[in-house]
Symmetry: C4
């Protein structure tokens, strides 16, 4: 494993950390992204509380799956252990994005899942985006960030949801996490989540009675995902 490879991992994570700001998913320091090298069990993540305007790619912090920081004087994001548990629990995930983007957070604060009612949503999430319940007091006060990651992984296992088909979730009273095969895909899912949260909110204010057909959901998801996908250049 050469340094060159780790630098590339840092650069990849850095780019996505900038993209979530550019796309207005993040203001101040309310968000972080990481890129995972599953082969070596190392991910690069934003340092904690560092202003986006000062951030350099070299500042990204490398962390292994035991939570050990590799050659950095900066502390990693306070949400590092949430990322870590998702990487451990979901085999296909190569990148994670956490933001307090307003519309996803609006649903999370209302403790409500985002119902699928359109093709924009179906292109990215195969069904309602679930909102997980408040963590209990013991978990919040003991190992809050690690418990948040475990909650996500356990919820998906219990509900038998495939993380690839539902690359994100809401956390009650908090905000959202999205993921993907790469951190770039995780970013795109964060953009999609925000747009769908915004649109679903308002569509339901226009009509309480929306019956989006499951066959359109399936059509759109499979148009973009899986072996019969025909969207894009391959």
């Amino acid at each position: 494993m050469g340094t060159g490879y780790l630098d590339q991992l840092k650069q990849e994570a850095f780019e996505v950390n900038l993209e979530i700001v550019r796309e207005r998913l993040v203001v101040l320091t309310w968000g972080n992204a990481s890129s995972f090298d599953r082969a070596h069990g190392i991910f690069a993540i934003k340092p904690s509380g560092v202003s986006y305007s000062l951030l350099k790619w070299q500042d990204m912090v490398l962390v292994d799956l035991d939570g050990k920081v590799i050659e950095s004087k900066l502390k990693p994001s306070s949400d590092t252990f949430t990322h870590l548990e998702i990487y451990k629990g979901f085999n296909s995930v190569g990148g994670i994005v956490h933001t307090h983007s307003p519309w996803a957070t609006i649903w999370a604060q209302a403790c409500k899942s985002i119902p699928v009612i359109g093709t924009t949503h179906s292109d990215h999430f195969k069904g309602d985006v679930p909102c997980l319940p408040y963590l209990n007091k013991d978990k919040v006060e003991s190992a809050y960030e690690k418990e948040t990651g475990l909650q996500i992984v356990e919820f998906f296992k219990k509900e038998q949801i495939v993380p690839n088909h539902m690359p994100g979730c809401l956390l009650s009273g908090h905000a959202s996490f999205t993921w993907g095969e790469t951190s770039q895909k995780a970013f795109e899912n964060a953009v999609a989540l925000e747009a769908c949260a915004h649109m679903a909110y308002h569509s339901f204010k226009l009509s309480h009675d929306i019956n989006f057909p499951i066959y359109i959901l399936s059509k759109h998801f499979t148009r973009k995902h899986g072996e019969n996908a025909y969207y894009g250049q391959k």
Copy 2:
């Protein structure tokens, strides 16, 4: 038919594809625009799933009215057959824009037409912008994009709506298509649709009882369209 002409067609389509992003009608790759050369039966359209930040005008894909791709290694937009059917069905159309712009999509997801209640709307659309019903399962699973185009053309014929007077529509659970004599006009109609969708949504939350007079609708539409138009420089 010289190459020069086709290059110009590509450049025209390219420009409009950029404009829909600049105007925030499109995020990620959720949209596409095409320009049609009716004399030669060829249109230029965005390649499928290519990031807007990487797009060059040379990447635009030329397609004829049989759906055949002309000298390109890139696949055209997955919505190509919808564009094609609209060009075939509506004689006056020279450009088409498809976006998932948020407010038009909010109405589409609620399966509701956008009522005309103001002059902004009247300047572009001569009446309520119709929302077409969900396509049925057979059509979605057989030739989804082609059926979408056919649905639009057949709806306008059945309802006896002149495509020039109503240069756009919503598709339930999906988003919007707009069109015009040129792709630039189609773009302007997409901007107008989004603004009117946003404003109508909120005006109706202020008052359920809006009776916009038909004579103001007519005045504004004819001020801009038809032989007695006096808006603009000719």
Copy 3:
């Protein structure tokens, strides 16, 4: 009267026409601003339907109070006669801005005046911003734009509203006009109107029972206007 003076008038009007676009009060060509030289009875106004991205200050059209265009090949804004009637009817006005800015238009489409409920509003408008009723059919079909201007002037006279104290109004089903001693002031009032329209809409969704004290309204308006004003550098 030298050409130099008229060029300055054009430049002034041009600048404000750009500002309303920069501030997102205008998209496409939905708006226009004019600057008035009362001493010479001439105003400079945007040409009709010209794209803002192509506009040069030299394109501004000079019009006198009979509606006669002075040395220009371009047609003035289709709303020219509305501006003209306001300049004729309101002695203190030196600049006018017309936009379809979304939130002001939302109230106008709902045919509702914007109630004063805060100091932002009070700093600019001494009371509710009135929404005038739909023009009748005869007036719309005969001399629509001139009748619109007359309606505004007559409404203010009938209701004994001082144009300086209420530098703007809404037109049912249409949008807003604002004015001021200069076109720059008219622009600032357009910005204020849009912000207040946005905030009032949402404040009333939070509470139906808002009783903003008249003494705060007076305090804020007189802090900025009239002989006892102490806001600003003099």
Copy 4:
């Protein structure tokens, strides 16, 4: 006390005055920020009514705690006495930001406190952000700006709220003030207030029944504040 020090104070205040515009918390001249040097009892504040586009750091006005302007020909912000009373009343405050940012103002105009329902809010404000009642007529007509500052200080004392734990408040019918150990922190709290005001408004439209646990509020506030804080780089 050297001039160098005061220049630095001006530059600091200047930077924050620009930031509130960049972040769209302020349009036109609706806002001001100040930086306080407690050791010398002097603060630097924006001059009254000066356009942000013309503002230079040298224009910042230095004011002492008696309200006396130090070597400046410009008048300080009309809200200077509100800042002054807050600096006098709250020992730990080193910077103040006042804006009419839309969502905070929407709550203020509705005369409602912003309930804490999420972690974004908890990271900055330890509980509901209070909305203070309308000032009475006598206070508005006598020494409005000073009385506004006194109202804030007295409210916090009476309600036994620690200004460090609740670095901001709303004023009924007006807008918001935020503060912090530095003007940069005051700015960050203004950004947070605006985001939380926006999100809380909409979360409550999705659900009237939100029971955000107090232990998550405490966890998030103490993660960032106080001696056990572990967010950020120290």
